[in-house]
């Protein structure tokens, strides 16, 4: 079979409510069925067990909610975006609704390799007692010229010494327990939001227990600048 037609689309969706307890793998399987239920002209891979050409931007940890998740899907033909959005939402679970669809240029890199940063609201749960000047101390901490940290390595154990400051692009306190933060999420450094909040709590000597934060991802960004060393963040849609 000739690869006659392939149109790439990017989809932005939420993960919310009870469905925050579904793993990334389960979300992937869920979407394969959503596209079949919506009867979109999905393109399949070749071979004896063909699969949908589907890729996800950035796995969301189990328990986090999000209003800015992304996936790319390849269709065999162009579709009307409004119709597709409506049809998809008709067959979607309430906690996994689609927010937007965008057609991608033919040569566009896939969403996973585009991920550069992600923004979060991190709320320290009520069960954790905070000190009175937690917000001020945290702002001071994050406002330092450099923030040298040892980050646990993804593989093989050990720590990576780095300046965290370089990877925080924006932050502010939304209320006395909630920090908004925009963090680097490139595949090499990838800063986890709970890692930053742990630092802030340790900085104040706050005692943490299991499951200390509620974490909500707001959006995912790519670096739109082609200039070496310059950062120009833009959401994936």
């Amino acid at each position: 079979m000739q690869d006659t037609s392939a149109v790439k689309y990017r989809i932005k969706f939420i993960k919310d409510g009870a469905l925050r307890y579904i793993s990334h793998l389960d979300v992937m399987r869920y979407f394969q069925k959503v596209f079949k239920r919506a009867d979109l002209p999905v393109k399949y891979s070749e071979g004896f067990s063909p699969h949908q050409l589907l890729s996800f931007a950035y796995p969301l940890s189990l328990g986090y909610t999000s209003e800015g998740e992304y996936l790319d899907i390849v269709l065999t033909e162009e579709v009307n975006i409004d119709d597709a959005l409506r049809t998809l939402n008709e067959v979607s679970s309430e906690g996994l609704k689609i927010r937007a669809i965008k057609k991608l240029p033919e040569k566009a890199p896939n969403c996973m390799s585009s991920v550069f940063a992600a923004s979060y609201d991190i709320t320290v749960r009520q069960k954790i007692s905070l000190c009175d000047d937690f917000v001020k101390k945290s702002i001071d901490f994050l406002s330092q010229e450099t923030i040298p940290v040892n980050k646990p390595k993804k593989k093989g154990g050990g720590f990576l010494s780095m300046d965290l400051k370089k990877y925080i692009y924006d932050f502010r306190f939304v209320d006395d327990r909630t920090l908004y933060i925009l963090l680097n999420s490139g595949s090499e450094t990838n800063i986890r939001p709970d890692f930053v909040m742990d630092l802030l709590c340790n900085n104040c000597g706050i005692e943490l227990s299991d499951n200390p934060y509620e974490i909500h991802r707001i959006d995912i960004y790519e670096n739109a600048s082609s200039e070496e060393g310059r950062i120009e963040l833009r959401t994936l849609i």
Partner: protein, 623 residues
């Protein structure tokens, strides 16, 4: 959608797979509790992923929720991690949809798919805060229903249930719910209500039967306590499988269940009459669904779920009379829509190989044969109508078609088995391997032929010809598995043959419960109190605690397993009538002893008794 979860975020984040407990799956049914009269919760007493793979519950869930006055929800056994937390924090067990406590429901229906789930039933009741013994319950508790294959001999768990529904669930629940609605608020006692319920066909209320015993521990008599209570309860069955409930929008779990596909039941029952097989007797007579109905259901189900695989299920799919037409038409839709078809339970012959080559990847798939016994002598005894020629011909054609993996299933400990029968298992596997090397020229071979021999231990079941037969002892089982392994290691092509066998301890316990009686409920209670749960899982099965429980209750396992039963013994399940008569089964047992096979239902009617239902193949035969 229901975002108000019964479990706190802290709990959900510390347990394995929290998605087991949050409901909200696609096609799950949500109703306004204020707008329904009846709250029903269906339970599969095992972990979520197993329970969600079960078709029966999906059928009944669909049926109950089609009743406007009823909301049917689901519950599964909390895994051991959550179980410990719920006990510690005294959290009540809840239904997945409403997340509300089970104790507040009108009905709790528990399906009994295998004997090893019995302690999990107690877990469900216990965590729900429902008294474990039926006798201790009041109107403040749900009425606890049992159903499924093990309810054909529910006696070991009889004391824990209020009612067993005997047979196929599609037929009598509506009538029962109406009875409930008309009596619930009249001030009737729970017991009097159960007596009324017992007059609905298919409803077996165990507390309404007195069992008396002989000195040798066998049963002397089974007596209903009230004249209105029937002496025997006949199984219910669906007469027309094209006009009944079948879900076309089954609930789709987010977690990967053990059956991540549409399960389409093409027929019910089996014509074969293998003498070891309980399902083959329980679901008689065989009833087929029409091709049009199946195609319609298949297409709707696939559209409503988005599954990429459909399995055509039945006890013996090759016996479905229009299989070629069904596949031919289904394959067109499936190819256009990237859906795979799977077809288990096929007899391997030219026809089925042709179908399989159309729907599967030959390189990945393997051929499966279930000769069950190694020798023709023993296959005749068990009435397994499969000859060595059938197997070798099937293999030869398959090898020529490109297959090189063969799986063979056998049982050890079958009645009248001897060492030659075990030896024959190894010889058969060896012959198949040799056949591969004869059939496939060297340049066409893709590596060595892979033959997998698996054996399980035979457990005699009620309503089979072997219900009179002694079960092999644990030592016999081990000895037989050892002999099988040794025999295989001595054949010429042993390097091409892999041998697997199953646990022995659970087979013994399964045998006790399969033909057990009411006196066993104290043993189950005792084992549960000691910490037994999830006995079907080898990692959680605690044989030593079970042995202790039997010892403390002074009950011998051997009485139920290895004992010889007299032809006229009253069995614990004699108040249940599955349609197949005891005299027919005894005739079959005697024929087995003589090594005489019986014809299948299509060849010739053997007069099993199921003709009294007047449906399916029995009706076709009469015409």
């Amino acid at each position: 959608m229901n975002n108000k979860l019964a479990l706190s975020d802290d709990i959900l984040m510390q347990i394995e797979k929290p998605a087991r407990y949050i409901g909200n799956e696609v096609n799950a049914v949500y109703k306004d509790p204020d707008k329904v009269d009846i709250r029903f919760v269906m339970c599969f007493p095992d972990v979520y992923e197993i329970g969600m793979s079960h078709l029966g519950i999906q059928i009944l869930y669909d049926m109950f929720n089609k009743f406007e006055d009823t909301w049917c929800e689901r519950v599964y056994s909390p895994w051991t991690d959550l179980d410990a937390i719920m006990r510690k924090e005294k959290l009540p067990l809840f239904a997945l949809e409403s997340q509300q406590p089970i104790k507040d429901f009108d009905f709790l229906g528990i399906t009994l798919q295998y004997e090893m789930c019995y302690t999990n039933i107690l877990q469900i009741l216990d965590l729900s805060g429902i008294p474990l013994y039926s006798a201790d319950r009041t109107w403040d508790d749900p009425i606890v229903f049992g159903g499924g294959p093990c309810s054909y001999n529910p006696e070991p768990v009889a004391d824990f249930f209020d009612i067993f529904y005997i047979g196929e669930g599609e037929t009598r629940y509506r009538e029962f719910l109406d009875l409930y609605k008309s009596y619930r608020d009249t001030g009737i006692s729970r017991r009097d209500f159960l007596i009324k319920a017992a007059s609905i066909p298919g409803m077996y209320v165990p507390s309404l039967y007195d069992i008396s015993y002989n000195e040798d521990w066998t049963i002397r008599a089974i007596d209903p306590v009230d004249p209105s209570v029937p002496k025997t309860v006949k199984k219910e069955l669906v007469k027309d499988l094209d006009n009944t409930y079948f879900p076309t929008a089954p609930v789709i779990p987010y977690l990967k269940s053990f059956s991540d596909r549409i399960n389409l039941e093409i027929q019910r029952g089996c014509i074969r009459g293998c003498r070891f097989c309980q399902a083959g007797q329980l679901y008689r007579p065989v009833r087929e669904r029409s091709v049009d109905y199946l195609l319609d259901t298949a297409v709707n189900s696939l559209k409503n779920t988005g599954y990429d695989e459909i399995t055509l299920s039945s006890l013996s799919s090759s016996d479905y009379s229009r299989l070629d037409e069904l596949i031919e038409r289904l394959i067109i839709y499936c190819n256009d829509n990237n859906v795979n078809i799977s077809l288990p339970s096929l007899r391997i012959d030219a026809f089925s190989l042709d179908i399989m080559s159309k729907i599967q990847d030959i390189k990945k798939s393997s051929l499966t044969f279930a000769p069950e016994a190694g020798s023709q002598r023993l296959r005749d005894i068990i009435n397994k109508n499969l000859t060595k020629e059938n197997i070798l011909n099937g293999c030869e054609q398959a090898f020529m078609g490109g297959w090189n993996k063969v799986k063979l299933y056998f049982m050890l400990g079958l009645p009248f088995e001897n060492d030659d029968d075990i030896q024959a298992i190894a010889s058969l596997a060896n012959e198949i391997a040799a056949l591969y090397y004869e059939t496939v020229p060297k340049e066409k071979r893709t590596g060595r032929v892979q033959i997998t021999v698996s054996t399980s231990f035979f457990v005699p079941k009620p309503f089979t010809a072997f219900q009179w037969s002694p079960q092999a002892t644990r030592e016999d089982f081990i000895d037989k598995a050892y002999k099988t392994r040794k025999a295989i290691s001595e054949v010429l092509n042993q390097k091409s043959i892999k041998y697997n066998w199953h646990e022995t301890d659970t087979s013994v316990l399964e045998g006790v419960f399969a033909r057990g009686d009411r006196r066993l409920s104290r043993v189950i209670m005792s084992a549960y109190k000691k910490g037994c749960m999830y006995d079907a899982w080898s990692e959680t099965y605690k044989n030593d605690l079970w042995i202790e429980a039997f010892d403390e209750c002074g009950i011998s396992m051997d009485f139920y397993t290895t004992r010889n039963r007299a032809d006229d013994e009253i069995f614990p399940w004699d108040m249940i009538d599955c349609g197949v008569s005891k005299s027919f089964l005894l005739r079959e047992y005697k024929k087995a002893k003589e090594g005489v096979p019986s014809p299948n239902c299509k060849e010739k009617c053997s007069g099993c008794g199921a003709a009294s239902f007047g449906v399916g193949i029995c009706r076709t035969h009469q015409q």
